[in-house]
């Protein structure tokens, strides 16, 4: 006899919904369960694996993406809640002209070691610079203090963001 399973777990998986997500300027139509996070949908349904999962609890910042210009934790954001909004991931930072000034600065300043925190760091920094084009070091540190980096010691990341600011 087939096992019915745990009703609490099954209820939210009754029916997938169609969602329109605008990611890096491109429209994507995906069929998803309502409990799926933006991070899961980006990585598993869309195939954009730039945003990383480091904890799944919103404590490490590796999954940071921009929604309408605001830095959000994709692991705590339901995918259906960002329908119709502009989602920017690390894959959308570079354009036909090449790397963005921040990406360039991260490379030039040695701000990338293992690179696992880098996508989230770039987007938190991007959000900062869009609101505050000339932040001081304290403001930069504060803006990226939700993004954990275990390799660099943050020094070169702060330098890179400073150099990319006006």
């Amino acid at each position: 006899m087939p096992e019915k399973g745990n009703p609490d777990r099954r209820n939210y998986r009754v029916k997938k919904q169609l969602a329109q997500l605008r990611i890096n300027g491109e429209e994507h139509e995906v069929a998803i369960y309502s409990h799926r996070t933006l991070l899961e949908v980006l990585r598993e349904d869309i195939g954009l694996t730039g945003a990383k999962e480091g904890c799944g609890l919103g404590t490490c910042g590796a999954c940071t993406v921009l929604v309408n210009g605001e830095a959000v934790l994709a692991c705590l954001t339901l995918a259906l809640s960002v329908e119709g909004k502009d989602i920017l991931t690390v894959e959308g930072l570079a354009d036909a002209e090449g790397l963005s000034p921040l990406q360039r600065a991260f490379l030039d300043h040695g701000a990338i070691q293992c690179g696992y925190c880098t996508p989230g760091m770039l987007l938190s920094s991007e959000a900062l610079l869009s609101k505050n084009p000339c932040p001081d070091d304290k403001e930069i540190s504060r803006a990226i203090s939700g993004n954990i980096c275990r390799c660099t010691g943050y020094v070169k990341i702060v330098e890179a963001v400073r150099s990319a600011s006006d």
């Binding site: 399973g5 694996t49 730039g50 799944g56 894959e91 930072l93 070691q113 954990i148």
Partner: protein, 734 residues
């Protein structure tokens, strides 16, 4: 690629038809498994396969990863079974349907209790739960201690910490139709993993292919085969589908052999009246947790590396590990040296205060020194490190002017560049292919964990061949394609893999020069390679481009392409298999750092204002990467010293997330002044030595001796949390 999101870590690899695996873990710290019933779980829609302990035991191996192969669980989180299903939710749901009958056994959670005669035997080894013992005795410590006119003895203890590399452990396993197993996982040693996994599963090594290209940190804790490698492989075999297991952060805390084990330490130092160290005795007793693996390596690292950076002619080490029903602990960045060095350097400060003698400078190891355990020091910039760190930090003046709860402290360390000892041979190999356009493909077995070895190795090849860094493409971490290398650990990358790469580039260069010499009708020994050209020494216009030489070689009657192979095995040793006496490495690096800090008396918070760190890396192949290594280690060391502690209660982890287990963020970042000291080593490629682990061992001693000055009191326990600071201040007031 890391800046654009293109870099694929193993966690990013997804294959069509892939299943998701989840592991069922023991809720009990010690129990016998009497029955496993998976029938309900198997009948759940979406479940494709289940593997249990029994399937692993059926492989007939006596030893495995930290996992019982005898029907017992030994810690909360111990693996019992794993499910593969169409998605993670279904796999998790299936775990709830697996029925396990346990017969609970008495459990023990601290080393003192575990050593009692009536303690429950965790591994039935009839040995009071002793997991490992490592005694070392060099020189004549008994006689030397008798001669000593000054004696210092201190006890110190440390709590368990957590390594916390950012990419969670994961493994994607795929058996193909020919019965070959492909593994995508983040590992420091694809070679060890292939050897161990093929052995465990009864496959030939050639039938296992390990991919490990981009790795989200490791810090010595991704060196071995782990149970999730085995579970995902067996699930793939059973289901005929690729199976991915990705551990949650909580699972990483729970089970992962991640981070330092708790330790009890005693340090005894005997000195002459003039401050010369005569002898040192170090006793370390660690809680191994439930299973033994790389904790034994940590015990060896501590015992061996404490003979640096100060000269200790007579040395006694008593290292011991005890089994408990705590999670199987592992290794954190710095390998436990931070803790023990903190005791040693506190003693030095006491001695200096009493005698006014500069103990550090007086006893610093020098080039030409041979340590009590047989390390031959051919290059040593330690004295420069001490002086430059002090000068740059304005030490003399600041020590004089200390007031309030302001502190300044210093620490030193020495570290090996690669290590034999626990392994007999330490080989690395590389392959260089020169294309007709003059660019180069470099294959190395060494994996880049983020420290930048791919770049440094490319620089070595480029320098040797007279081409640009941008001309070299590096491929690493694929056991099928890249040549053999033991892995990225023991600070062996720059020196060992670097020398192999240099040899491979030289080999390819020889072929280019031979071809050019014939074409130019010149003697090969008169030619040199520079600026992408091969020309007569001193006459850059008399020559041809490297691309032309490569093309000429292929387009000749021999039809020989330009390919170079190189290998290197450091000619060190011999090393005693019992006490590890001998020269384990070709080169040793040295570091010193000064920490400046402020203590808030009300909150106990310690604000580290500045770290001045000097590191002798022989020669900085990539100065920016060396700085990055030093800076990363400063922050990681501060975190370990001031807040990182896993809180355990009866085998249960109380702070299994990154909010409750606090690590450094950008807001904790002090000013870091890095000083690169270069005392070129005769054996390193272009004189280079390690920079991946030495500096971190200076951090805790510097911060803790700084705290001693700020608080006017000795520190007895690690980490020094705000609670500990406040109680120290309180004790002093009483």
């Amino acid at each position: 690629a890391k800046a654009t999101g293109e870099a694929k870590f193993s966690i990013d690899v997804m294959i069509q038809g892939m299943l998701f695996g989840k592991i069922l873990r023991s809720p009990l710290p010690h129990a016998k498994i009497s029955n496993i019933d998976t029938s309900s779980a198997e009948n759940l829609a979406g479940v494709r396969g289940i593997v249990t302990r029994k399937d692993i035991e059926a492989l007939g191996k006596a030893q495995g990863p930290p996992l019982g192969l005898d029907g017992k669980v030994r810690f909360i989180g111990d693996e019992v079974a794993a499910v593969a299903a169409i998605d993670e939710d279904t796999a998790e749901e299936a775990l709830e349907l697996i029925r396990i009958d346990y017969e609970p056994l008495p459990a023990v959670f601290d080393i003192e209790d575990a050593r009692k005669d009536d303690a429950p035997a965790i591994h039935d080894n009839g040995n009071n739960n002793i997991a490992a013992m490592l005694p070392m005795r060099f020189g004549d410590p008994d006689a030397a201690f008798k001669k000593a006119s000054r004696m210092y003895e201190d006890a110190f203890s440390s709590g368990p910490s957590y390594n916390c590399f950012l990419e969670p452990n994961n493994c994607l396993a795929e058996y193909d139709s020919a019965g070959r197993l492909n593994i995508w996982t983040s590992t420091q040693s694809p070679y060890f993993l292939r050897r161990d996994l093929s052995g465990f599963l009864g496959l030939t090594p050639g039938n296992v292919r390990v991919f490990s290209s981009h790795i989200g940190g490791a810090f010595d804790d991704r060196l071995e085969m782990m149970s999730y490698h085995i579970f995902s492989s067996l699930l793939s075999k059973k289901t005929g589908r690729p199976v991915k297991i990705q551990l949650s952060r909580e699972e990483m805390f729970l089970l992962n052999r991640s981070g330092s084990f708790p330790m009890e330490m005693i340090v005894r130092t005997g000195l002459k009246e003039d401050g010369t160290i005569l002898a040192q005795q170090i006793k370390v007793t660690g809680d191994a947790g439930a299973y033994l693996a790389n904790q034994a390596m940590t015990l060896w690292i501590i015992g061996s590396m404490l003979t640096l950076p100060y000269f200790i002619p007579n040395y006694l080490y008593d290292g011991k590990l005890i089994y408990t029903n705590n999670p199987a602990y592992g290794i954190n960045r710095g390998a436990g040296l931070l803790q023990v060095r903190s005791v040693v350097e506190q003693q030095f400060d006491s001695i200096e205060k009493e005698t006014g003698i500069d103990i550090r400078a007086k006893n610093a190891v020098r080039s030409g020194s041979v340590t009590a355990n047989g390390f031959k020091i051919d290059s040593c910039g330690f004295a420069q490190c001490i002086n430059q760190a002090r000068d740059k930090a304005n030490w003399a003046e600041k020590v004089e002017q200390l007031s309030g709860h302001h502190g300044i402290g210093m620490g030193g360390s020495g570290c090996c560049s690669g290590a034999k000892g626990r392994i007999a041979q330490d080989p690395s190999s590389a392959f260089v292919k020169v294309h007709e356009d003059g660019t180069v493909t470099l294959l190395t077995g060494l994996v880049d964990l983020g420290q930048g070895s791919d770049t440094a190795l490319a620089q070595i090849a480029a320098e040797e061949l007279g081409i640009g860094l941008e001309d070299v493409r590096v491929f690493s971490g694929d056991t099928e394609i890249t040549p053999m290398d033991l892995g990225t650990y023991g600070q062996r990358g720059t020196l060992v893999a670097g020398n192999a790469v240099r040899a491979a580039a030289r080999d390819a260069g020889k072929r280019l020069i031979t071809t050019a010499a014939i074409y130019m009708d010149a003697a090969p020994e008169d030619l040199e390679m520079k600026d992408r050209r091969i020309y007569v020494k001193g006459s850059p216009d008399r020559g041809i481009s490297i691309s032309k030489a490569a093309l000429l070689s292929i387009d000749s009657e021999r039809g020989e392409p330009v390919m170079g192979i190189g290998f290197y095995n450091p000619p060190t040793g011999p090393i005693d298999a019992g006490n590890f006496y001998g020269n384990i490495a070709m080169a040793y690096s040295f570091s010193a750092c000064v920490a400046e800090l402020n203590v808030d008396e009300e909150t106990g918070l310690v604000d580290v204002e500045k770290m001045t760190a000097a590191h002798d890396c022989g020669f900085a192949i990539n100065p920016m990467a060396v700085e990055g290594q030093v800076e990363g280690q400063m922050i990681c060391g501060i975190g370990q010293t001031l807040f990182e502690e896993r809180l355990m209660k009866k085998g249960r982890s109380l702070n299994s997330n990154l909010l409750d287990y606090r690590i450094c963020t950008a807001a904790d970042m002090p000013l870091i002044d890095t000083i690169i000291v270069e005392d070129p080593d005769p054996h390193g490629p272009f004189g280079a030595k390690e920079c991946g682990s030495g500096p971190i061992s200076t951090t805790s001693p510097a911060v803790i001796t700084g705290l001693c000055r700020a608080l006017g009191s000795r520190i007895k326990r690690f980490p020094v949390t705000p609670e500990a600071v406040i109680s120290t201040i309180g004790r002093k007031k009483e």
